[in-house]
Each structure stands twice: as C-alpha cells, then as structure tokens.
C-alpha cells in the first residue's frame, strides 16, 4: 500500500502527477462536457405528462445575483409556483409552460442583453418577471421591438404605466398613486391632518412622496415638511434628528434594509412615540419584521398583500397559496419567511398571462396583438389564480387596480384594520401609447 493515497494505482488518473498532457486535458475536458451534456439531455418534468405538446416558452428576467438577489430569488418563487400549478393542471390549452430563467445581475446593461437573448435566441412567446424598475425600463424597448407581451412582476416605478408606458407591457399589481389614493383618507381622517414625509431619495421615493403629498392635500390634510434620505444610508440619525415641530404624523417611504434602518432609528430617537407612525407597507414587509422586533409595534401601513389568514384573506384559495409559498420559501431561506408581495405579484402576474392566453387562443408570438387585446380590460376574479382578490387591468395604461390592505403591526404581526376596495384606489390614466 502506498504511503500517500495519491500514489495508489486507482488514484493516478485522478491526481495531478506533475505533467499535464494534452491527452489528459482533452480527456478531462471531454468528461466534463459529457457530464454537462448529459444533464442537458435529461427531459424536463413536464415532458412525460404532455407528450409531444409544444410548450409555451415564457421568459423571466430576475436579479438572482448582485444587489437585488435576495428579492429576485423570492420573486422567482412566485413565478415558479404559478408555472408548476399550471403545468400540474394540464397546462394552457393543453400545452405546458417552459420557463426560461435569466439572471440579470441587478444591472441594466446585463438585463437588456438577457432580454435580447430571450427574444432572439430562446424565442420566448411572452415574458413575465422583472424586479428592479430601472432594469424593467431598460428592457421595455426590447420587448416592444420584438413584439413580446411583458407582464411585469415586481417593478413599481410609476412611469412604467404613465409617461414611459408601452403597448406591450402590463402591470397586474398596484402602483404608488393608487396606494396614495387608497391610504390618504385613512391617514387624514383617522390619524392626523399634518404630516411630515421621510423618503428614500431616489426616483421611486420621490415619485411616491409626490403622490402622497397630492392625495393628503386632496383629503384635507397638509404635508408640512419632507426629508429625503439617500438610498442605503446606514446611519439616518443626522437626517431624522432634524425632524421636529408641530405635526401629527410621521410618514416613511422606504423598502428593504432601509425600511429596517428607519424603523429602528426613528424609534430610538423617539419619533415614533411623539408622532403617529405610518408609511409604505414595504417598511414592514414580513421579511423585515424579525430585524425590527418590537420597535415597529403600532406602525400603520398599506400594502396589496399581507401574510395573514384573517378576513378577508381567510379563503381556501389564499390558504393554498400561503402554504405552498411558505414551504417553497423555506427551501431558499431556512429561517422560513412568510410570503410577501413579491411572491404574490409574480404568482398572479403569471396567472394573468395564463388567463389572457386562454381567452385569446394565443399560439405564439405572431398572436401577440390578440393577447394584448385579451389582457386589456381583463377582469381577474378572486380564486386559486388570484388569491389576493379581484383586480382589473385597465385598457388605457395597462395598469391594474386591486384592493389594498391598511394594516397595523401588533405583537409582531400584521393585523388588517381596513380593506380599501379596488374601486376606491383608481387614479386617472396618464399614458399615451406610441
């Protein structure tokens, strides 16, 4: 027996012996290529069930690496849940969905390149996804150029369905102006007339601030001051310590880790005790609650989705969605986060696409005008496809209107305090299709 395992006879082909010959290199290369090829030859799981039925190729662009990776992976869970459910139920018009996933690294240039690849190489029939608004906006012209329906999953920027709207792009969830219309009467009527707004100082935060300022004024209230805080600021104290004066409520417009920072630091400075504390629901997203602890108690927010099984979300459809999402999220995050609006919006966006395909008899990209016609004005009914509730996809700007949940954080959990019907969230269209 040899002294070192590397000198054993059986290990000679595996262990680098000091000379890399061309034969060894080619051999190992061929073995690696063979292994890779073999994995590609394994048929996808839907192949057996659907026989030779040609699948609908649906592309999904997500930030699976880079700054937006955590959110992108969560969002993808929603899309995959919907695709698996559709395929399990027999596909659409007897054809399965083949999901083509592309990671755009949270960068707009990569996003645009991947959108091109999906369009010209993968030859997708439609696209469902998109997470970061700047990447969504950069990719929209690609879908327009190749005449592909683009059903957005997360991108919240207002301009996507207003000044930069596209005939090919649809948003099956809400946007800031609709949330402001829904929330302002509650803020002014039940919490106070005078407000100070602190916001993430970039495009989304600024446009959301403007929407709330307008609606609070319309509801009879007043915005006495605003404070912009740069995105990603770890220490917000210098900004927050300047906020003082005679007003009733302190309103925050932040998301992600900035939501955690504002929640913790506003509490530490006593702002949330001195003033009524409200804001965009993204501050108190389920994923943020553990990091906020009891400092977020009493926060009042608005969101299209809250992970509770209380009325009106105590339906069997929502329970089914909730349980499936919890199980899948646990696979990517062992801490077991509850589903958030990213999972919900992607799940429902894929289902909206499904309903549109069924309604229009869409067969492929050549039928895109038919699919657009079917999606324009689409009424989505609460059920297994749309567990969040009813929604309407407006024809004028391809923007959906849906019910909103005003919630309070109590004992570390969301508690719905008011449900705003979709009819009371409508904001006039501001889109002119080219």
């Amino acid at each position: 027996m040899a002294e070192r395992w590397q000198d054993e006879e059986w290990a000679k082909d595996l262990w680098y012996s000091g000379k890399a010959t061309r034969r060894k290199f080619l051999g190992l290369g061929a073995a690696a290529a063979g292994a890779l090829g073999a994995t590609l030859l394994v048929p996808p799981p839907w192949r057996e069930a659907f026989g030779q039925a040609k699948p609908y190729k649906i592309g999904t662009l997500q930030p699976l690496s880079g700054a937006g990776a955590a959110g992108g992976k969560t969002a993808l869970v929603g899309t995959q849940m919907a695709v698996d459910r559709i395929n399990k139920a027999g596909g659409i018009n007897g054809r399965p969905i083949e999901l083509v996933i592309a990671d755009y690294e949270s960068k707009p240039d990569v996003g645009r390149r991947k959108a091109e690849k999906l369009a010209v190489e993968d030859k997708i029939d439609a696209h469902q996804g998109g997470f970061l608004s700047n990447v969504c906006l950069a990719c929209m012209p690609v879908f327009e150029e190749h005449k592909i329906v683009n059903m957005i999953g997360v991108c919240l920027d207002t301009t996507i369905t207003t000044s930069k709207c596209s005939r090919y792009t649809f948003r099956s969830f809400d946007y800031a102006p609709a949330q402001a219309v829904a929330f302002a009467p509650y803020l002014v009527g039940k919490m106070g007339k005078k407000w100070h707004i602190a916001f993430a100082d970039y495009a989304w935060g600024q446009s959301t601030r403007d929407a709330y300022a307008e609606q609070i004024k319309k509801a009879g209230g007043e915005v006495v001051g605003t404070t912009g805080i740069p995105l990603g600021t770890a220490d917000m104290t210098p900004f927050l310590s300047k906020i003082s004066g005679a007003f009733d409520g302190f309103f925050g417009i932040f998301f992600g880790k900035d939501g955690v920072t504002i929640g913790n630091q506003a509490f530490d400075l006593g702002l949330t005790k001195k003033y009524r504390w409200a804001g965009d629901g993204a501050i108190a997203e389920a994923t943020n609650l553990p990091a906020l602890g009891n400092k977020i108690e009493g926060f009042v927010g608005i969101n299209r989705y809250v992970p509770v099984l209380d009325p009106p979300l105590n339906t069997p459809h929502h329970k089914k969605f909730f349980d499936d999402a919890v199980a899948r999220l646990k696979q990517i995050d062992p801490s077991g986060p509850l589903p958030d609006r990213y999972v919900q919006a992607n799940f429902e966006a894929m289902n909206a696409l499904k309903v549109g395909i069924q309604k229009s008899g869409f067969q492929g990209r050549a039928d895109t005008p038919k699919l657009i016609a079917a999606l324009e004005g689409l009424e989505m009914k609460e059920g297994d496809d749309f567990p969040q509730g009813d929604k309407t996809l407006r024809k004028d700007d391809h923007q959906a209107f849906l019910r909103e949940f005003i919630f309070e954080i109590k004992d570390g959990k969301h508690r719905i305090v008011e449900v705003v019907p979709k009819e009371k969230t409508v904001f006039p269209p501001a889109c002119k299709f080219a």
Partner: protein, 318 residues
C-alpha cells in the same frame, strides 16, 4: 530589414482582424451580432483606460464617470434636439466627458499610486450620487430612454441604423480610436508617459513637467471613455446611473488585467474574453456563473500575469 517586415506583418494582421470584425455581423446570428458590437464598445472603454493603467502606471477607478458622462451627454443631445442628431450626440458626450475628465485630472493628478486611485473612485461616486438623486434632470435611478439617431451626413443623407450598419459604424470609430491612440502612445508624448510609469522622480529630474503630462493623459483617457459612452447610448437607447458606479471601473481594470496592460489591443481582447465567459457561463450556471469566472480570472492572474496578449506574444516568440 526586419523592421519593415514586422511592420507589414502588423498591418496585415490589423487588416485581417478588421475584415473579420466587419464580416462578423453578416454571418453571426442576431444575438451574437449585437454582442460583438457591444464587445467593441466595452473594448474601447478598456483601451481608453489602458492609457492610464498600462502606459502611465496610474490605476483609475473613475472611468465609469467618464463613460457615464459621455452617455448622459449623448442623452442630453438626443432628448433636447429635434430631430435627434448623431454628431451632436457625439459632441455633447465628448464635451461632458472632457469637462469632467479635466476637473478630475486637475485634483487627482496631484496624488500618486493608491491615493490617485482612491481620489478617482471618490469622484466617480460623487457623480453617481448626483445623477442618482437629481431625478428631474437625469431620470434618477431609472435613467433616461431615447430614440436612436439616424446615421447622417448633413445635407447629403440620413438613414436609420440597422444592427449591421451600426456595427460597422462602431467598428470604424473603435478602429480609428485605436490608430489614434497607437500613434499617441508611440509619439514622444507617449514615451514620456511610459517614462513616468517606469520612474516618475527621474522623469521629473530630467525636466519634464510630470503633472501636466498626467493631466493630459487623464483627459485623453476620459475623452475616449466618453466616446465609448456615446456609442453605448446610441446602441442601447438608454443611459443609467449604474454605468457611473465604480463597479464599472473595476470591470474595466479586470479587462486590462485579463487582456494585457500597456498594449491597447490587450484590453479589447480582455473585454471580449470576460464578456464571453460571463455570457456562456451564465447560461449554464445562472446565478452561480461568477464562481467559474472568478476561478478563471484568478488562474489567469497567477499563470498569465501579462494577460492574454502577453501570453500569446511569449508563446509566439518561443
């Protein structure tokens, strides 16, 4: 007798590469056609930074600012002037990048080595924050989108770009830029830059005003980076703050290291190699593709410290 032969060999090689690149969009599938055009643009950006990194020995992390300002300059011309004009976009982009390069050069060239690198990084981050937050003018995080200008010769013709003609236009600009930069680096001015790289105190002792040479080098480098930014804006019809972020400068340094610094062509080869690696691996490994790319980059740094071009040269000389 060997000099003329090697010179004719060089020009023959240049002509062959140029001909291959010109023919590429006629034979490549649609996606790869666009991809090659993009490689040329990133290659020009990498080439521009080679003036500083490879020839003057100054590592700049501010190239994203010059690239981005070129892009936003072009965007300003394409959004404010009707009908959109290609040459005006070029002019605005070059002015934008040139002014910023002069500003950065004035302050940063007073410092050396790591201090120069950090100063350029700080400047690029300042411009990034301004662009990111000044939404009314720059579009903020979302950036600006616009229409592609046609190719025009005033009073003679105006034709919209096709992917093939755009590729040829980009190729022409990159080839001319290369020839110009090659001429500059081989001129007495270029020799002084290399002398600064090799021994700055001695260059100063000989009597050269080192700071002035450095300022001109940064401005020159910034102008060509801005030109790359204009080409990117024209190709992709959008400008975004992400291109001003220092990570882009980091990628440009990687292009230089992979391709071979101080060669002008090397960084272009480095950009092509890196972008191809990224594209191919991301197809198989989705979000995990950076692991093999990182491993290959590390191996290259260890086993090919002079980059792809240096390695090829050494092999050919053997």
């Amino acid at each position: 007798m060997s000099a003329p032969r090697s010179s004719s060999g060089y020009w023959m090689g240049f002509a062959i590469v140029l001909a291959l690149l010109a023919a590429a969009p006629l034979v490549l599938p649609e996606f790869w056609r666009r991809f090659v055009t993009e490689i040329l643009i990133w290659g020009l950006l990498a080439m521009s930074s080679d003036i500083l990194i490879g020839y003057t020995g100054m590592i700049s992390f501010g190239h994203s600012a010059f690239f981005g300002l070129g892009m936003y300059g072009a965007a300003a011309a394409l959004l404010t002037v009707r009908p959109p004009n290609l040459w005006l976009a070029l002019l605005y982009g070059l002015i934008g990048a040139g002014v910023i390069a002069a500003f950065v050069a004035y302050f940063a060239t007073r410092l050396r080595d790591i201090y120069f690198a950090i100063t350029t990084l700080v400047f690029s981050q300042i411009f990034y924050v301004i662009i990111f937050t000044w939404t009314e003018v720059t579009g903020g995080e979302n950036g600006l989108t616009f229409r592609q200008p046609p190719f025009s010769v005033p009073a003679v013709l105006s034709v919209p770009f096709t992917p093939v003609t755009l590729h040829w236009f980009v190729l022409a600009v990159v080839a001319l830029s290369y020839l110009l930069l090659r001429r500059i680096t081989q001129s007495p001015f270029g020799m002084v830059l290399q002398s600064i790289r090799e021994n700055e105190p001695r260059t100063r002792a000989i009597g050269y005003h080192v700071e002035r040479y450095k300022i001109v080098a940064v401005m020159l480098s910034g102008l060509f980076a801005g030109l790359a930014g204009v080409l990117y804006a024209v190709q992709n019809k959008f400008a975004a703050p992400d291109f001003v972020f220092f990570l882009i400068s980091g990628e440009v340094v990687i292009f230089n290291v992979m391709g071979g610094m101080g060669t002008l062509v090397g960084p272009v080869a480095g950009a092509a190699f890196f972008l191809l690696l990224r594209e191919v691996f991301s197809r198989f490994f989705t979000e995990y593709y950076l692991i093999p790319v990182g491993v290959i980059f590390t191996l290259m740094v260890v086993f090919m410290p002079q980059g792809l071009l240096g390695f090829l040269r050494r092999r050919l000389n053997q």
